[in-house]
């Protein structure tokens, strides 16, 4: 669930208020978003992805709100790491950011095949016993 808005980094652009699909934020003073409906947060990280200022931090338990230490989050460099992972900048994708995406299907199938072989191997061993 969304855990913190870094007011000093926030530009008050209001993008997150609109971009949150579940209407978690209201606009507060100077446009800095206020977490108004935490119970509606689905921990989807979309607000972070749309925040060019890296002023939002979503904690990773979807069932329980979590108190975080804002300074620690900042020191660890966690702010904005999701957006950088997607390689989004000012709402656009960096060139080449989807050049590995084709591997999703093959890696998924490979994983499923590994599980299948492991299961067959185990059960043929049992049959041999």
């Amino acid at each position: 669930m969304i855990a913190h808005v870094f007011a000093d980094a926030c530009t008050g652009c209001g993008t997150c208020i609109a971009a949150c699909p579940t209407h978690v934020f209201d606009a507060g003073a100077d446009g800095v978003p206020v977490i108004a409906r935490l119970d509606q947060c689905q921990t989807c990280f979309m607000c972070e992805l749309y925040c060019d200022a890296d002023a939002l931090y979503v904690a990773v338990d979807l069932r329980e709100p979590k108190a975080i230490d804002p300074d620690l989050i900042r020191t660890r460099g966690e702010l904005g790491n999701l957006r950088r992972g997607y390689r989004w900048r000012n709402g656009a994708s960096e060139p080449g950011s989807l050049d590995h995406f084709w591997q999703l299907g093959p890696l998924l199938r490979e994983g499923a095949e590994i599980a299948g072989r492991r299961y067959r191997a185990r059960h043929s061993e049992q049959a041999d016993d």
Binding site: R63, L104, L107, G111
Partner: protein
């Protein structure tokens, strides 16, 4: 009525309800065909729904007749007699032609062989591109405008919708000549990533307006994720599973289908289940961040090393998202039984391409694209033949909006828990039998009676009131259809009827005060209520 409660008035040719991939393809198709199009979404077009957080692969078969025939035959074999080869052909062809047309807005990447990879797209970039395409075509997009009910004209045809604008806190009312429901499936608030907005209002609104549903028994679907956060499931396909004592569990592999889910669910009913990824494909370690950055975040921020440590997992209900059921379409343009009311994507029954099994992401995405596109074209065509209506339209919303008895506060969280226990809770859903289904029907009936007699909401709260009503209605239809299908078929598992019965038939369902079911003849010819 105070001035603030005066509804925002919207007039349009085609109204699209929903904001995921089916809704966007529908809106762009209708606008491209010359219609004035307004799209209203509960959330934000770009982040709403299960595609935005995902990475949909599409059914992708080159236009070679032999290849396509082969792909269709293979898929028909796993649809357990309920799919339609003609629809499959359309879906393959439309997807192949349309997806690459997004190139102006979507940064298609390499296919690893010197070409361009079109078949799979990443969710946030895909929805961002679909929003850009719709905007370029002149679609008016209204984010945070959840629809609450449909309007019908005196002939019973769809005439618009009404809802509540969340950011401005005002009701809205849209008059339209055609309405497309692309509201997604219903995951009953399981926590499945992206599904918080997928609570089934499209089904409820459609049925209130006179539409029917089909395939609702095909709703027992799950995905695996870390216990604390739902993610996409790519990392976990090769996972080994352990109980709390560290003993490895003998779980049939993902390819085993129902046995895989039953194996995991049975173990989880005994206690916590842990996974490790030591067997995962080596390349996943280096490329997962490039493919699905958000799948790593729940681990990194919790301090768990995804590929090196064991972590607790659980199953997140998918309901009719990865399940199949939805509004029953009666023609090639995705029209429901209500004239001028169309259904697309997960809001429509996906049986024409999936039959009794999920079909996996590829068929599902291709269906959403194609059904959206066709609904958009059909709605635009209908618009051309409709005179401007002068007769006043009638609002059709009932449960959660207009209680039949005294409005009074109801314990929504408790009701949602009951709804979940009889829809996505796997102890029942993966081992259905006549007596547990009869009990579920009774419990859900009590929930429904309470909501329809007393449920209501004021202001913003009306949205939540309607969501709970829609989840109750959806669960009721799922259970009714599961009771009517006295056999096991595809993802519908009846332990008291372990085999399929001949001949295969779809099951239609609907009704509000009283739920009904009937075997469906699957005729593809047009049949309309009015």
């Amino acid at each position: 009525m105070t001035r603030l409660e005066e509804p925002i008035g919207i007039e349009t040719d085609v109204l699209v309800v929903g904001g995921g991939m089916a809704a966007c393809w529908a809106a762009s198709a209708a606008a491209g065909a010359g219609a004035r199009v307004t799209l209203v979404d509960k959330g934000f077009v770009g982040t709403s729904g299960v595609t935005a957080t995902g990475g949909p692969n599409h059914w992708w078969v080159p236009p070679d007749p032999a290849l396509r025939r082969d792909a269709i035959e293979r898929r028909l074999a796993t649809a357990y007699g309920l799919a339609d080869a003609e629809w499959m052909e359309r879906v393959i062809d439309t997807t192949w032609r349309l997806l690459p047309t997004l190139a102006a807005h979507y940064p298609f990447g390499s296919d690893g062989k010197g070409g361009t990879f079109f078949a799979g797209v990443r969710g946030p970039e895909y929805l961002r591109a679909l929003r850009a395409l719709a905007t370029e075509r002149g679609v008016r997009i209204l984010d945070h405008h959840p629809a609450l009910e449909l309007l019908v004209d005196p002939d019973g045809a769809a005439a618009g919708a009404a809802g509540y604008a969340r950011l401005t806190r005002r009701p809205w009312r849209a008059e339209a000549k055609a309405v497309i429901l692309a509201t997604g499936g219903c995951a009953f608030r399981s926590g499945l990533i992206g599904s918080h907005t997928n609570t089934g209002e499209g089904y409820l609104m459609g049925v209130e307006a006179g539409a029917e549903l089909s395939g609702m028994e095909f709703s027992a679907a799950y995905s695996l994720s870390p216990a604390w956060n739902s993610t996409r499931s790519l990392p976990y396909f090769a996972a080994r599973f352990f109980d709390a004592g560290g003993r490895e569990l003998d779980i049939p592999p993902p390819m085993a289908g129902n046995a895989h889910w039953q194996g995991l669910a049975a173990a989880m009913l005994q206690g916590p289940v842990f996974a490790d990824l030591v067997d995962a494909p080596a390349a996943l370690r280096s490329t997962l961040r490039e493919i699905q950055p958000a799948s790593l975040t729940p681990f990194e921020r919790r301090g768990v090393s995804l590929f090196d440590e064991r972590f607790e997992v659980r199953l997140f209900g998918e309901g009719t998202i990865r399940g199949v059921g939805g509004l029953r379409i009666v023609d090639d343009g995705c029209q429901t039984r209500v004239p001028g009311l169309y259904a697309a994507g997960d809001a429509a029954s996906r049986e024409p391409v999936a039959g009794a099994t999920s079909g996996g992401g590829a068929q599902n995405s291709a269906w959403a694209l194609t059904s959206g596109h066709r609904a958009g074209l059909a709605a635009a065509e209908r618009m051309r033949t409709r005179r401007d209506g002068h007769a006043p339209s009638r609002a059709t919303g009932q449960a959660g909006l207009r209680p039949t008895s005294t409005p009074r506060p109801i314990e929504r969280p408790a009701l949602v828990e009951t709804i979940q226990a009889h829809s996505i809770a796997y102890d029942r859903a993966l081992w259905r039998n006549a007596s547990s289904l009869a009990d579920s029907a009774e419990q859900l009936e009590a929930v429904w009676q309470q909501i329809s007699a007393h449920g209501h909401g004021e202001g913003l709260d009306i949205v939540a009131s309607r969501e709970v009503a829609a989840m109750a209605a959806t669960a009721r239809w799922c259970i009714a259809a599961a009771r009517a299908r006295e056999e096991s078929r595809g993802m519908h598992i009846r332990v008291d009827h372990p085999h399929g019965a001949a001949p295969p038939a779809r099951i239609a369902t609907g009704g509000l005060d009283a739920v009904w079911t009937r075997p469906d003849q699957q005729s593809s010819q047009t049949e309309l209520a009015a």
